[in-house]
């Protein structure tokens, strides 16, 4: 039976993670994410899981990777300053192909910024925060109910692709309370850890990165049953470091392809009235809620406008936007940063099209009327002649 309860975004994130099978949480308190840690501290011990408050975010990130390599689904949550500290470890998780989930409840930045106010300035940090080319998946819900469902998806994708998944939220989404219908068991899919059970006390060392026929994701070794080696150094399929350039190139391309070739399966988005739209509003996270309202209001004025809401931020849904660009003459991007997604969008929509960025970086949520204004002005400009 589905259950209807009142939940805060951060609570939904923690409870959804537990539902997804997360049994290890390590974190360091930071506004506006701390409720996630508090729920984990309360709930995990009841079900045999482990909560630990680490000495900093460097330790938190390291601990969840350690726990995951030891066989337990693991997560941490933080906000901008802590997310910056976790970056080196995120790269390690990419290199050691470790399924882990990093939640970043965004505040205004940079630096300590606006601790208690929303921001969306970590879009690029989520993509490129760690050094070197690396594969990454980033999800960003926009309602509390979606937080619950999508954090489960985040764990699934992490397991499926053996990769870290960044789960973005923002202060509004983290703290808003909404009534939520928790999905019944039959409606949720949970991908459990693929570990190699065939390995008894193996003579040979387990090859943690061996490509196998018909097996897309290499199972993780089971500690205690076999032995394996992982390193952040460039390595071959055995997991041991090698310095040869052909192996380095092959590894980096394989890692990139893991996500790139499966982008269609990973990418999720939501569309509202885009079919006959001439203007497309693009917004995500809590701003998408304002955008939806603005689009509905504009439609009442007979403006042909639609909403595109990327749910998967990385890989970015370029393909779908390219399709939409064929019949779109104007784009409004609304985001709480200085145009991080707008820059990506501008790679698809050409200069002949109208382009407007509605941006706020003052810690205030963008309101429906600000977006509606931009739509109305753009439409007026398009129909002037």
């Amino acid at each position: 039976m589905s259950e209807r309860i009142l939940l805060q975004g951060n609570e939904a994130c923690a409870l959804g993670a537990i539902r997804a099978g997360c049994r290890f949480y390590a974190g360091y308190p930071i506004t506006p994410s701390s409720e996630i840690a508090e729920v984990m501290a309360r709930e995990l011990p009841k079900i045999g899981g482990v909560f630990i408050q680490m000495e900093d975010e460097l330790a938190s990130a390291a601990a969840i990777i350690g726990a995951s390599l030891a066989g337990v689904k693991a997560m941490t949550a933080t906000s901008g300053p802590g997310f910056s500290l976790m970056q080196e470890a995120i790269g390690y998780a990419c290199m050691a192909e470790t399924p882990v989930v990093f939640v970043d409840v965004q505040r205004g930045g940079p630096s300590t910024g606006l601790p208690t106010r929303p921001g969306q300035g970590d879009i690029m940090q989520a993509r490129w925060g760690t050094h070197g080319d690396h594969p990454i998946i980033t999800l960003y819900p926009s309602t509390v109910e979606e937080v619950y469902e999508l954090i489960i998806e985040a764990f699934n994708l992490a397991e499926e692709f053996r990769n870290p998944v960044i789960f973005l939220m923002d202060e509004v989404l983290g703290h808003i309370r909404e009534s939520v219908t928790l999905p019944p068991d039959e409606d949720i899919e949970i991908i459990s850890r693929k570990s190699d059970e065939e390995f008894e006390e193996a003579e040979e060392i387990f090859l943690p990165f061996e490509e196998r026929e018909n097996v897309e994701v290499i199972p993780l070794a089971k500690m205690g049953k076999t032995r394996f080696h992982v390193t952040g150094l460039v390595h071959d399929e055995s997991g041991f470091p090698v310095g040869t350039s052909n192996i380095a190139g092959k590894l980096l391309r394989r890692l990139e392809n893991k996500i790139r070739l499966h982008a269609d399966r990973i990418i999720k988005y939501e569309e509202f009235m885009v079919k006959d739209a001439e203007i497309l509003v693009i917004a995500y996270g809590s701003v998408a809620r304002s955008a939806l309202r603005a689009v509905k209001m504009a439609r009442l004025d007979d403006i042909p406008v639609g909403l595109f809401r990327p749910i998967t931020i990385w890989p970015f849904p370029f393909k779908r936007l390219k399709e939409l660009s064929k019949h779109i003459s104007g784009v409004v991007v609304a985001e709480m940063n200085l145009g991080q997604v707008a820059r990506e969008v501008s790679r698809v929509f050409k200069s002949r099209q109208h382009f407007e960025l509605v941006s706020r970086v003052d810690g205030e949520l963008i309101s429906p009327s600000e977006i509606l204004d931009a739509i109305t002005k753009m439409y007026a400009g398009m129909t002037e002649f």
């Binding site: 000495e55 390599l69 500690m223």
Partner: protein, 277 residues
């Protein structure tokens, strides 16, 4: 014969090691597998975690579950491993820079938590891998590539730091004292709670060369001459102990470790209200 047996625990196909000829790291590696062998642990039930540095490359040569992680973070990774798999024996190995500079915070907090880990510090008083820069254990006035006029900083005493931070087993040995090193590592693994073994080792390539002891055997001779057992040291004055290496078991106390307390916490949490999944 003994050595031949210990080779079973090594990944000989990954050798030669990155270590310079005469480096003490090999002695600590051997002492570790010797201790594991004497304890009769199976290779699959041991996880060894290291950070980054010459000494941290040890995980690449040891045939266990081995995690070669990030500079300074080995103890934090190991915390995750141990709490996820309490049944595994988890050993952390690495350099003085890795454990006490960039990883110093994790070191003291793991001690404070009394996590059931064995931490082996390869203490060569220098950053070997990056070319001989001074480290948190470089003695005052010793030379290093970034201390061309001698270091003016005071070094950490690993034993003092571990003890005052709450580690429940703390010992020091040197690579000259092989049997003692094996004994302490074995005791550390057997110990329930945070166990730290500070092993003084030689980096003749950098520390030695910069400080006029470029010959590894001479460095080992110095370790022998400078070392003094804890029982004897207790009778000497601070002045008499200057430049001496005090070796022995400094702390060995029984105290509930993190895991034991966490188990109690879990029971308490379960008792309060039934969990609804």
């Amino acid at each position: 014969m003994k050595t031949a047996k210990l080779i079973e625990y090594l990944r000989v196909d990954r050798m030669p090691t990155v270590w310079c000829p005469g480096c003490g790291n090999g002695i600590i590696m051997k002492a570790t597998v010797d201790a594991i062998d004497r304890l009769g642990l199976s290779k699959s039930e041991v996880a060894i975690v290291s950070g980054i540095g010459c000494s941290s490359r040890v995980t690449g040569y040891l045939d266990f579950n081995t995690l070669h992680t990030l500079h300074g973070r080995a103890i934090a990774f190991a915390t995750g491993v141990k709490l996820a798999r309490p049944d595994m024996t988890v050993i952390v190995m690495g350099g003085d820079g890795d454990m006490l500079a960039i990883g110093g915070n994790h070191f003291i907090h793991a001690c404070r938590r009394n996590l059931n880990l064995t931490v082996i510090v390869f203490n060569n008083s220098i950053y070997g891998m990056t070319g001989g820069q001074y480290s948190p254990t470089t003695p005052t006035y010793a030379m290093a590539s970034t201390a061309p006029y001698g270091s003016i900083e005071k070094p950490f005493d690993v034993v003092d730091l571990a003890t005052s931070s709450g580690a429940t087993y703390v010992a020091r040995s040197t690579v000259y004292h092989y049997e003692l090193t094996v004994k302490f590592i074995k005791a550390a693994i057997e110990h329930k709670g945070m166990a730290v073994v500070d092993v003084i080792t030689n980096c003749h390539t950098y520390f030695g060369r910069y400080n006029k002891i470029p010959d590894p055997s001479e460095m080992l001779e110095q370790f022998k001459e400078k070392s003094i057992p804890l029982s004897k040291a207790e009778e000497l004055s601070e002045n008499e102990l200057k430049d001496r290496i005090i070796i022995g078991e400094f702390r060995k106390v029984e105290s509930p470790d993190f895991q034991e307390l966490y188990k109690q916490l879990q029971e308490k949490a379960r008792g309060e209200d039934g969990y609804k999944a």
